[in-house]
Symmetry: C2
Subunit: 117 residues, 2 copies
DNA sequence: CGTAAATTTCGGGTATTGCCGAATTATGGA
DNA sequence: TCCATAATTCGGCAATACCCGAAATTTACG
């Protein structure tokens, strides 16, 4: 991942409301959530939400598809993984002090998945 | 790590110039870099740099100490690790699709460190 | 002391962001 | 067709971010 898209993605996540939206989308999984449902869950106005969903989409962190009258948003797992890889490889360039301890976090994630499935 | 400091850190990194500064600091290691040296390396004006260094410091991503007439800035490895852990655990809450593939990135970082040492 | 060097702080002007109310578009159903 | 629903787009306003030149602060050194 290059610098500019990484900065765009970081900027998209550097907002409390959008971070909450992204969190909801990740929890919802590939099935995603309708915009209206996100508005209901978060309590934000539909137009504000629409703007923030668009920012996440432009940053590549969310995808959208129409389903009847609703538009379903889903987290873009690949993009988020790319962003994390960018940050980690960027950080690890000089030292492993940051990334090496994250091995435990990664392994915990895998365990969580194994338990869930 | 809680949401607010995470958003602050993300916001600090969501800026091309500050991301470049942080990258330089990480590469420089615990020894850090003098503000003037960063200014020379990046070509930004000293006052603009000072402002961005302050933003990184407030976000907890950089530390500073005086050394003679210079002020040495260094990357705050712990804070960056906390931020990455926050993002990964936040992402992994529902699925390992994002974090599990990062195991390879982590292992590559460790190898790099082993080679370097 | 007095001066130079390193960095920060101050003040501004411009650009961007964020939020809201209102209007608009798009879809599904009676 | 007509209406209700879902979501977006538009216009404006307040707040914030960014960058710069100039001045101030802090430290080192003769």
């Amino acid at each position: 991942m290059e610098t500019i898209p990484a900065v765009t993605a970081l900027s998209a996540l550097a907002h409390e409301g959008r971070l909450e939206i992204f969190r909801l989308l990740v929890k919802a999984g590939p099935a995603g959530l309708a915009a209206g449902e996100i508005a209901r869950l978060t309590g934000v106005l539909p137009n504000t939400l629409s703007s923030n969903l668009n920012i996440l989409s432009v940053a590549g962190l969310a995808t959208s598809r129409r389903h009847g009258r609703s538009i379903i948003y889903a987290a873009a797992y690949d993009r988020m993984r790319e962003l994390l890889a960018f940050l980690m490889e960027d950080c690890c360039a000089g030292s492993a002090a940051i990334c090496a301890p994250l091995a435990e976090v990664v392994s915990r994630c895998r365990v969580a998945e194994a338990v869930a499935s």
